[in-house]
């Protein structure tokens, strides 16, 4: 089926059309460009929740519990689960659906698994565009689950309105491990598996860590506008049990509070601008990289430059400058 027919069906809420379009976007960036061009006006209505945390912290189960409640409020939910691609074989095992076995109906919940295909940052190249597809498809809330994070998988911060980080009691090292990256982008900390011993200590650890972060906050208030969101919002901490749903209402209240904060302070608008800037930058990077690769593989002048660098009569920086000239971009 042609993608223009699929777009027509997507806007009428057809599930299969949404799924096919996501496949096209994943596999071909040139078609992705045309699809986004056609649907862009229909996007921007969904609230985007980013869920991140260490492997095994309970992200999928958490999302399942949260989704069940949101659906009962009459909302249509889109879920994107990103898992890692093997750097050796290019294959991937996507297992997030295993823990999302609530009997969600096709009408209210759309779940899509994605491999990150080697992209660093916790998301895949196609994630941002997939959010747009689900937005145009009519989802009220889109939940994005990143790959299990280590230290610097912070791209979700650029795509989501509210970032929730899951932590579990007893993993003493994880605060240590994530203090530089994740800690700074989190809006809500969820201490998941609160029935395990050590939940209160974990809350205390995070509180302490946040207090130490005041220094960072002070600096960012003065400068970078893109950090306004983190500078003015003090992250909330909530203990949670994904299996029983204990503290669910409290959590929903905090999400609502953060949403209202973004609207009331006007941060939402400036945040959107940053999001568009970042996205455009990524697209430019991709397009320019491709252009450079094409040039490098086709232009015979490059061979001459290479010889000059081999003879030490040119250095790699100068060669790069000459290539920029060839591209007409100096």
């Amino acid at each position: 089926m042609d993608y223009s027919d699929l777009i027509h069906n997507l806007l009428e809420g057809n599930t299969r059309a949404a799924a096919r379009l996501i496949t096209l976007i994943e596999n071909d960036i040139d078609i992705a460009e045309k699809i986004i061009h056609a649907i862009y006006k229909e996007t921007g209505n969904a609230y985007i929740l980013g869920i991140t945390g260490a492997p095994g912290s309970g992200k999928s189960t958490f999302i399942s519990t949260l989704t069940k409640t949101l659906v009962s409020q009459g909302k249509k939910i889109g879920i994107i689960c990103v898992d890692p691609t093997s750097p050796l074989t290019g294959g991937a095992l996507l297992g997030d659906r295993i823990r999302m076995k609530e009997n969600f109906s096709l009408k209210n919940v759309f779940i899509r698994s994605m491999a990150n295909r080697g992209q660093l940052g916790g998301l895949s190249r196609a994630t941002e565009d997939t959010i747009k597809i689900l937005d145009a498809y009519g989802c009220d809330v889109i939940i994005v689950e990143t790959v299990g994070v280590g230290q610097s998988e912070v791209d979700i911060f650029k795509s989501a309105h509210t970032v929730i980080v899951l932590m579990v009691p007893g993993m003493g090292d994880d605060i240590q491990a994530i203090k530089a990256g994740i800690m700074e982008i989190t809006d809500i900390f969820v201490v998941n598996k609160m029935d395990l011993p050590g939940a209160d200590k974990k809350v205390a650890d995070i509180t302490q860590m946040l207090e130490m972060n005041m220094n960072f906050k002070y600096k960012s208030e003065k400068g970078a506008q893109e950090y306004a969101k983190i500078a003015q919002w003090t992250p909330e901490i909530v203990k949670f049990n994904s299996k029983t749903g204990e503290n669910l209402n409290k959590l929903l209240g905090i999400i609502e509070k953060h949403k209202k904060f973004l609207e009331d302070t006007g941060i939402n608008a400036s945040y959107q601008i940053n999001r568009i800037k970042n996205e455009t930058f990524q697209i430019l990077k991709h397009k320019l990289t491709r252009k450079v690769q094409q040039l490098l593989s086709s232009n015979s002048t490059i061979e001459e430059y290479l010889k000059l660098v081999m003879d030490k009569s040119l250095d790699p920086y100068s060669m790069a400058n000459l290539i920029i000239k060839l591209l007409g971009m100096d």
Binding site: A19, E26, N27, T89, R125
Partner: protein, 133 residues
Amino acid sequence: MNDKKKIKVLVCKPGLDGHDRGAKVLARALRDAGMEVIYTGLHQTPDDIVNTVIQEDPDAVMLSILSGAHNALCPVIMEKLKENGIDDVLVSVGGIIPDEDIPFLEKHGLKGFYGPGTELKTIVDFVKNNLKR
């Protein structure tokens, strides 16, 4: 960034059968062959499976059944896929499938029927060579 088309496969355990070692070994083998494999876990109803196929848009569905319920489950799954206009997905069933049941399952559009002892490479090649798109 890799934009090359990847083969996407759904590995499913339909019905009440609770043994998924085979499904996991298969999922791992397909992963190692460079495919993107979704495993949905145990106890999937035909509706669960069809819903997953609609949302994930895989190129192939590999059903693993050891319980003997294949003649009951497979035709229902195929029927529901057809109802949803899905006719370009390779659907295969394996596990414990007696030879005398194969013609019946083939009539419903299923393929494969690989059982214990099959070399994983055979199944990987089967997927690669039988895709419908």
